[in-house]
């Protein structure tokens, strides 16, 4: 068994283990959660240490026949993009388990831990799958625990929120299932062999209309999951209803599954279709940026401000992917990591601030906490600056590369997106200033950072600082894989956009070891 297989199955085993714990035993459940998450993170670090960053293909994985009648394989492995996504997943889940362990809810502690572990398993599977059916299975496997997490531990609107979450994502994923089956059968032809392996399907030459339709189906599923304007109808309900830890995971980790699918599956498998739809999808991304920013500016609760700012930030990520330039897509991967880290910290701070007044998240209820809670104010300032992507922050590096890449292909979209960064300053400072500055309202003593908060925030802030100073730490790992993912679509665009071959010879995907 390879490292990747172990990594994926570990949370599943952990979820099974929780069944051995007697119901209502909070200590047992919480120690399993933290322990499994810790071991998974350790395995992930080990995988990172063994990772060969010069290769673009999946590595450290297994490929074995699984359901041979249906040609489905157990085909898992990590590439430069997924290694960072799994690190984000195992890291943030570990922090989430620690945060939950400190404040276990009274209802169904065992189920809570089991569902979170299942969600982690699903996400890791999505990031490591090398086979479309396997990808689909994990994709659905992650939906169920998240929906249940909202439904069982959400606030009073949880029923409606969970239902709308399920229906939205089901519409997308059923469409994706159809597209997966269609793609495999179209690629097989009359007498070929059936395969769902992503690497094999990428070699198939689709007609332009096949490619476009298939891309559209995949992209829709991914854009709903992210979410992206105008498919974000489930977001407000789910994010506001779920417990804050779950909201943070939805936004920081689960959204990456959508972005990852776009970059890792939709664009490399269907480059022609991606090129056809680059402008519409890119325009939606810019709409998301502007729409999310305006909504964040006028949001009434801290949580929804962060939620809508997340909508805007995800717009940047999609924009970078749809630029099909290596710099834009590398910026997107960097930003996927950054967004996870920053959003997780931002939601955590919302929870911390809410302590100042009996858990209220209304923005006009709390102000002036800086006076009694200087550490909170200081750390929150760092997170605010990262969230508004001030030059020098990790998010700046990501957005800067994304926009350089976008500017090469769609200058107008890049310039419009730039104004999103101005909005970001407006809404993030609104959040910071209304809560931290002005006359005191609330109890800063209760909001000041404590040991557990520091344990949660310190690794996130450290990651922000390191990536801000040295973004190459991430991009040098992702480079080969990103080029594998975007070269096909990127070289197409250069030819059609300028009517002449690209200035630099396209690096052939074989050369990069993509297969």
């Amino acid at each position: 068994m390879s490292l990747t297989t172990v990594l994926i199955l570990l949370p599943l085993v952990g979820a099974a283990l929780t069944l051995l714990v007697p119901a209502g035993n909070r200590d047992g459940a919480r120690s399993i959660g933290v322990l499994i998450a810790l071991v998974a993170f350790g395995f992930n670090i080990a995988a990172f240490a063994k990772f060969d960053q010069s290769r673009g293909a999946l590595q450290l994985g297994d490929r074995a026949s699984w359901i041979s009648d249906l040609a489905v394989e157990w085909n898992v492995g990590l590439d430069g993009i997924s290694i960072w996504m799994t690190l984000l997943t195992t890291g943030l889940f570990l922090l989430a388990f620690i945060a939950i362990a400190a404040r276990m809810p009274d209802s169904h502690p065992r189920a809570l831990i089991a569902l979170l572990l299942l969600a982690e398993c699903g996400l890791l599977g999505v990031f490591a799958a090398g086979d479309l059916v396997l990808f689909y299975i994990f994709w659905e496997a992650m939906l169920v625990p998240f929906a249940l997490l909202i439904w069982m531990w959400g606030d009073r609107t949880r029923g409606r929120a969970a239902a709308s979450f399920v229906i939205y994502t089901m519409v997308g994923s059923l469409l994706m299932l159809v597209a997966i089956l269609s793609a495999a059968f179209m690629a097989k032809g009359p007498n070929g062999t059936l395969t769902f392996a992503i690497a094999d399907l990428a070699n198939h030459e689709w007609t332009q209309s096949q490619s476009t339709w298939l891309f559209a189906a995949f992209a829709l599923a991914f854009l709903i999951k992210l979410p992206m304007f105008p498919f974000h109808g489930w977001m407000a309900g789910a994010y506001s209803s779920a417990p804050l830890v779950v909201t943070a995971l939805l936004s920081a980790v689960m959204s990456k599954a959508g972005a990852f699918g776009l970059l890792h599956i939709a664009v490399p498998l269907f480059p022609v279709g991606a090129e056809q739809l680059a402008l519409p999808v890119g325009s939606l991304a810019v709409c998301s940026i502007i729409y999310g920013s305006l909504m964040a500016w006028r949001a009434q609760t801290m949580r929804m401000l962060v939620a809508y700012s997340s909508l805007a930030h995800l717009g940047f990520i999609v924009l970078g992917i749809m630029s099909f330039t290596s710099i834009g897509a590398e910026g997107a991967v960097l930003q996927m990591f950054n967004h996870g880290v920053v959003t997780a910290a931002a939601f955590a701070i919302v929870g911390i601030i809410a302590r100042a007044k009996h858990g209220t998240e209304e923005m006009d209820q709390i102000s002036g906490l800086a006076k009694g809670a200087p550490w909170l104010a200081g750390i929150f300032l760092v997170v605010t600056m990262a969230a508004l992507a001030i030059p020098g922050s990790n998010a700046f590096a990501g957005e800067f590369f994304i926009l350089i890449g976008t500017f090469e292909r769609h200058p107008v979209l890049a310039v419009l997106a730039c104004f999103g960064t101005a909005y970001a300053a407006v809404y993030m400072l609104r959040l910071y200033q209304t809560t931290m500055n002005g006359p005191l309202d609330g109890e800063p003593k209760k909001a000041e950072l404590r040991g557990l908060d520091v344990l949660y925030l310190a690794p996130l802030v450290a990651a922000m600082v390191v990536v801000g100073l040295w973004p190459a730490a991430v991009t040098r790992t992702t480079k080969a894989s990103v080029e594998c993912a975007t070269t096909a679509a990127g070289s197409l665009g250069l030819v059609t956009a300028e009517g002449q071959p690209p200035r630099t010879a396209p690096i052939t995907t074989e050369l990069l070891g993509c297969r």
Partner: protein, 652 residues
């Protein structure tokens, strides 16, 4: 060695800031704060001086030192950015001012801020500012220029909002930050263009490649220059992005002196000088730069006349003086712009710090209406302030005379457009002398205010007076390094950086000059311009004396005669009102519209529609359900197959 010193100069203030921040909620003893806060800047100044002298001993052409720490990013396609600094004649000049004047202002603050809460926080943020400003001028590529550019904005935000329990200060801080983000966006887009055209963001490469690959006078050259200039306008408070600077006076006075007068707000001048190759590729952009500078200097000077808050007068005066510098750079007179930056740093820091002594003495009073006849009780402040006024008004012998006069002379030498700018800047010089002496006379001469002062005067100690005394001396002698008809130390020093014309290498190996060198004024022309500016300066002083020297009667009579003009100037030409009623209002309204209508009704409503469709289907299914799992499975498979077939047919 100079490269290493550059990193040390950069590192010391950062270290100081981090050490002070690390105290968190615990307020360390004042001594510790002072030692760390001032010590780090003092040592940085010493290191800069050492670097400066070792640079002096080098050959003029070999004074550029690039030092890199690590590779920040390498994206293939040739785009590679290092964390690197570049010390040359231009950056060392800026560094000397930043650390030197910075140290004096830090020293001054040890006493000025002694009675305030947040003593440690103040020095931490000031140190952070100095670090950011040094990064801005030491950066070796556009990325770290922008990083420094944004971090000084952050430092400025923090210090404007230093009294963060005052809503006015908080609002002013946000305004400054947001307007500066707009400037950042301009610079970032300029970088996109540079990457697209040249594939690099490194200074040396950009300046070498730009004349070869960017057509001179073309749209790309114009766009790059103007986008960079948007950044300069925001940071240097040039119209129409100037409205944040007067509000920034909500910060403590030493902040106004260091950040919003002597150093940060002149970053725009530095930017244009640093990237002058890009500006010279577009003569139109140069003319726009000069025009914006000229408009700003005149507008701000008129506004300064009508302000009653001592710090706001100085703020508008800063806007106006930076207008001179920007105009100079737009004319291609880079050394003149930098010279004025140098003298302005001295006399404007002096004026602000002296204003601080006055405000301190009057227990925080800033209104001119509550001042008057202070020359006897505040004798030291009077002499210092008068020196500053003489310098900024351009009275011969004082530093401002040499630098401002040079800009005015350079303008006159640049053809027809130059003559227009000469007219504007001469008028500006008249207004400058007038509003500065209005300020001087209303504070120190005339009669005591009605109702008297707020109790006993609070006299300043040595930590405040010594820096002011040093700046007084510098405001007098600082101009003598560059003297008309005499020596040109600043111009000679900067010659290797800003002199010469960008050359384009033609296909046959010959060189074509792109851009132009600003024409030097002739001897006679210089005599004329000096006489003119001298005359208007004296006229301004005399007029101010006539109106303001004896009590308020005369000025009240005059202002009562022009109520509309007065309120127009008091309201600073009403830029703020226009922005509030257009940009801000529109943004807020559209955001509210989305929140209250589009999101609930359209986005979520559509989802709800789909949901209801599903529940209708479910009801339908309820009727046909048989309970046989087999039937369900068949139906499910059939459904999926049907969709798949349709899909394959459609996408064929």
């Amino acid at each position: 060695m100079i490269g290493t010193l550059g990193w040390i100069v950069l590192g010391l203030p950062l270290l100081g800031a981090l050490v002070l921040m690390a105290f968190g909620a615990k307020e360390p003893p004042k001594r510790v704060t002072q030692l760390v806060g001032c010590g780090s800047i003092g040592l940085a100044f010493l290191a800069t001086v050492v670097a400066f002298f070792s640079m002096l001993s080098e050959h003029a052409e070999e004074r550029t030192h690039v030092s890199r720490l690590w590779e920040w990013i390498d994206i293939g396609q040739g785009l590679k950015v290092d964390l690197a600094i570049r010390i040359d004649q231009l950056s060392i000049m800026m560094m000397l001012v930043i650390t030197g004047v910075g140290f004096l202002i830090h020293l001054y603050s040890t006493e000025y801020m002694a009675h305030e809460d947040g003593y440690r926080r103040f020095f931490a943020e000031m140190n952070f500012f100095v670090f950011s400003m040094l990064l801005l001028v030491e950066a070796a590529n556009f990325v770290f220029l922008i990083v420094g550019w944004a971090l000084v904005g952050l430092a400025s935000y923090l210090l404007i909002g230093f009294y963060y329990d005052r809503p006015v200060a908080v609002a002013a801080a946000k305004k400054a930050f947001v307007i500066n983000v707009l400037g950042d966006i301009g610079m970032v887009i300029a970088c996109f263009l540079l990457v697209r055209e040249l594939g690099t963001l490194d200074y040396d490469q950009v300046f070498a490649l730009a004349p070869q690959f960017i057509p001179a006078g073309g749209g790309v050259a114009l766009s790059i220059a103007l986008l960079l200039f948007v950044g300069a306008m925001a940071k240097s408070a040039q119209a129409p992005l100037h409205t944040w600077l007067p509000d920034a006076m909500e910060g403590p006075t030493p902040v106004s002196a260091l950040i919003h007068a002597a150093t940060m707000v002149t970053a725009g001048v530095y930017l244009v000088v640093r990237t002058h190759v890009l500006f010279e590729l577009s003569p139109l952009a140069m003319n726009i730069v000069a025009g914006v500078g000229a408009f700003t200097l005149l507008m701000a000077a008129t506004i300064a006349i009508a302000q009653v808050d001592i710090k706001r007068v100085l703020a508008w005066s800063t806007v106006s003086q930076i207008g001179y510098m920007i105009m100079a750079t737009g004319l291609g007179a880079y050394a003149s712009g930098m010279f004025h930056f140098l003298t302005h740093a001295f006399f404007k820091a002096l004026l602000f710090l002296t204003a601080g002594i006055i405000i301190h003495a009057l227990h925080g009073e800033q209104s001119l209406d509550k001042m008057g006849a202070l020359r006897k009780p505040l004798r030291f402040a009077y002499f210092a302030f008068a020196t500053g006024c003489l310098a900024i008004a351009g009275v011969p012998g004082f530093s401002g005379f040499f630098s401002k006069d040079e800009i005015i002379s350079m303008a006159a030498a640049q053809g027809t457009y130059g003559w227009v700018l000469f007219g504007v800047s001469t008028l500006g010089a008249f207004l400058t002398a007038f509003y500065m002496f209005r300020l001087l006379l209303r504070v120190f001469h005339g009669t005591e205010p009605e109702g008297g002062y707020h109790g006993e005067f609070h006299m300043s100690g040595a930590a405040m007076t010594v820096p002011v005394a040093i700046l007084t001396v510098l405001s007098i002698i600082g101009g003598w390094i560059q003297v008309p008809f005499g020596w040109k130390k600043v111009t000679d020093w900067l010659e290797p950086v800003v002199g010469g014309i960008p050359q384009k290498v033609n296909a046959d190996g010959t060189l074509t000059a792109v851009g132009h060198v600003a024409a030097e004024p002739s001897h006679n022309l210089e005599v004329i311009t000096i006489s003119a500016s001298l005359a208007v300066a004296l006229l301004g002083i005399l007029l101010a004396w006539y109106i303001f020297a004896n009590g308020p009667e005369r000025r009240l009579r005059i202002s009562a005669r022009h109520p509309h003009l007065r309120s127009f100037l008091e309201d600073a030409w009403r830029f703020d009102e226009v922005y509030d009623e257009t940009v801000v209002l529109a943004g807020r309204a559209s955001g509210d519209g989305l929140r209250d209508h589009v999101e609930p009704k359209v986005v979520i409503g559509a989802g709800r529609g789909v949901q209801e469709l599903f529940s209708d289907m479910a009801r339908f299914m309820h009727q046909i359900q048989s309970g046989l799992v087999r039937t369900y499975a068949v139906a499910l498979m059939a459904g999926l197959a049907a969709v798949a077939v349709i899909f394959i047919l459609v996408s064929r």
